[in-house]
């Protein structure tokens, strides 16, 4: 319980401090925020000073920063993230839908990566030094070097244009997720495989596995019952790091496959100086990241009793 409570306090503190920093972004960059907003919306460089002052009042930019943050934070807690400067739509709608798209894409990609990496990494570990190990290691390490702007068109060329079995772009349903998810999965797949391999090598050499076998357990039984759980610990951590990392979206993939995700949204918002979208986008990503890390720590403690030793021993 104390463990949970502590994690919860950390979560709140992180959110509060990060959201404040994010809120300060427009004030930390050079230039007058009110003027920048108007420029972004009108496209005009020579603005009437009275129009700028009017905008300053309209957007509440004349109030002290702390007060602005307080108002913004209160609204945000009620799900009101304000209006986009450029499109005058609800920021919560924009960020919400983009985040949903990006999250499902990220989860799909990491799922693919995991499903491939666990058996590949384990096989490489078991057949350490043999041809299959070298093949798996070399190929998956090669994935890291493949740029997405090369892989994506190649996949489109083969599966959409040549074979015609998958849509080439858009966000229209599960089938349209496959190609971007596969593209996105290659690099995590490579890292997951390496980490699985390394951790399984350790597991295979761990004395308790030998001891389990000395009691008559077969290799498979010993592995399943005493190897995998230990071997998966580092992969769990890496998975959460990648999940958090992918929440920002990938501009390259989202542009090539016309996916309406966070990458494109934030890129556009930065180009347009759409401050509310940037702020909300970053705060949401950070909130999710902290949440994921917390959940991972809980999962880790669940798998690994030594982490929660102080709570367990009676």
């Amino acid at each position: 319980m104390i463990f949970l409570l502590r994690r919860f306090v950390v979560l709140l503190c992180t959110l509060a401090s990060v959201s404040f920093l994010v809120f300060l972004i427009p004030y930390l960059t050079p230039g007058d925020p009110a003027r920048k907003i108007l420029q972004a919306r009108t496209g005009e460089l020579n603005l009437d000073p009275s129009a700028v002052e009017a905008a300053r009042v309209r957007y509440g930019l004349d109030k002290p920063v702390i007060e602005q943050y307080w108002n913004w934070g209160q609204n945000a807690l009620h799900g009101d993230l304000g209006l986009s400067y450029t499109s005058r739509t609800q920021v919560s709608d924009l960020v919400g839908s983009a985040l949903a798209v990006t999250t499902s894409l990220a989860v799909a990609a990491l799922f693919i990566a995991l499903v491939a990496a666990l058996p590949l990494g384990s096989l490489a570990a078991i057949r350490r030094g043999k041809a299959s190990d070298i093949a798996i290691t070399t190929v998956t390490q090669g994935f890291v070097a493949l740029p997405e702007y090369w892989v994506a068109p190649m996949l489109v060329l083969v599966f959409a244009l040549k074979l015609g079995i998958l849509p080439s772009a858009g966000w229209t349903g599960p089938a349209s997720m496959i190609l971007p998810a596969v593209t996105l999965s290659l690099r995590p797949l490579s890292y997951f495989t390496q980490v699985t391999r390394a951790s399984m090598v350790d597991v295979l050499e761990s004395p308790h596995l030998t001891a389990a076998r000395s009691r008559g357990l077969s290799f498979a039984q010993a592995m399943l019952r005493h190897g995998l759980r230990n071997g998966l610990l580092p992969v769990v951590t890496l998975f959460s790091i990648w999940l958090a990392g992918l929440l920002g979206g990938s501009v390259v993939i989202e542009v090539i496959f016309a996916v309406p995700g966070m990458g494109r949204l934030l890129y556009q918002a930065v180009t347009d100086g759409d401050v509310p979208v940037i702020q909300a986008g970053i705060v949401c990503i950070v909130a999710l990241t902290v949440l994921i890390t917390t959940l991972t720590d809980l999962l880790y403690a669940l798998i690994n009793p030594t982490v929660r030793s102080s709570n367990v021993s009676r």
Binding site: E205, H208, R215, G216
Partner: protein
């Protein structure tokens, strides 16, 4: 009574082909109900011998032997599947570092129950009852509570008791104990040795007791085999080995075990490096550290030819040393 465990001509190689063998033609028998100790300094190959018997050598190890058998079971040629029925049921093993031998992520109870369920086919509740019984049987207080502990919550002594409970669960014929008390406190060591001795007697098991400590071994073993650089160099009853060691290496070991200070007050140590001895391609492996050789003017023999493990004229006592062989001839 149980069956005889026989090892003959066991050779184990590791690493690139042509590198000196880890074990070189090791032969050993453990009779029914007998306790045989395998003694030698660190790196001599004691654990390798034990793991060969379990057929659990590290990957890449190449094992050859004329025979490894337990009664009419051919351990050497048994399939992996057959081995799964031999391990734990006919041959069990205790290890040097009991805490590292337990899965850190599983409870003690779950691990003790596992072979009962998987290998003996007990139901969940039967297995649980048996676990508590087994834990209580090896002197663990509050077995119900201990069953829910994890390895990192146990002391080394308790962990070894758990290992003993697991090793005995299948009522094996032979217990291989690989330095089961080396990692423990001296007080705990005595308790564990007594526990093993009591259990062995009760179940009528025979035992191969691996140790680098002649002192420990002398209190439990019927016979002692001394290993040096992957070779058995002397073998005999505990009494014979302790009171009239023949091989210069055994003599040195006995001297070390007695811990009698030399005339100048220093403790006796065996000079030289045992691991280099493995690479010796001809002659006696102990040559580089042997003082007897020069004293007896045997340099030429000891350099050129490795002596056989030969009887030294006393019952069930043999030694691999030219000095012993020459003395016997001279008589």
């Amino acid at each position: 009574m149980t069956d005889t465990l026989t090892i003959s001509g066991l050779t184990v190689e590791l690493g690139p082909p042509g590198s000196p063998p880890i074990l070189d033609r090791v032969s050993l028998t453990v009779g029914p109900g007998e306790i045989v100790a395998l003694v030698g300094e660190s790196g001599s190959g004691k654990s390798m011998t034990a793991m060969s018997l379990m057929r659990l050598l590290p990957p890449g190890a190449r094992m050859r032997a004329d025979a490894i058998s337990l009664g009419d079971i051919d351990v050497l040629h048994a399939s992996e599947h057959e081995m799964n029925h031999i391990r734990g049921a006919r041959i069990s093993m205790l290890f040097q570092q009991p805490k590292r031998m337990l899965d850190p992520t599983a409870t003690v109870g779950a691990q003790v129950a596992e072979p009962l369920r998987l290998c003996l086919g007990l139901s969940r509740s039967q297995a649980h009852a048996r676990v508590i019984e087994l834990l209580a049987d090896v002197g663990i207080a509050e077995p119900e509570r201990r069953a829910h502990s994890y390895a990192h919550q146990l002391s080394g002594g308790i962990a070894q008791r758990v290992m003993i409970a697991m090793a005995l669960a299948g009522q094996p014929d032979v217990l291989i104990a690989d330095e089961p008390t080396t990692a423990l406190d001296v007080t705990v060591e005595v308790q564990i040795l007594q526990l093993i001795a009591a259990k062995r007697a009760k179940l009528g098991m025979s035992a191969l007791f691996v140790s680098h400590d002649l002192g420990v071994v002398s209190s439990v073993a019927d016979r002692i085999a001394v290993m040096y650089a992957g070779r058995i160099v002397e073998e005999g009853t505990t009494r014979e080995i302790l009171h009239s060691p023949q091989h210069p290496y055994t003599k040195a070991l006995v001297k070390c075990a007695m811990l009698k200070p030399e005339a100048d007050g220093s403790l006796y140590t065996i000079l030289g490096d045992a691991n280099a001895a493995r690479a010796v391609s001809h002659g006696c492996r102990f040559r580089a550290r042997c003082l007897v050789c020069t004293a007896e003017h045997l340099e030429q023999k000891c350099e050129s030819e490795e002596p056989e493990l030969a009887g030294c004229g006393r019952a069930e006592h043999s030694s691999r040393c030219w000095a012993t062989i020459e003395t016997r001839k001279a008589r």
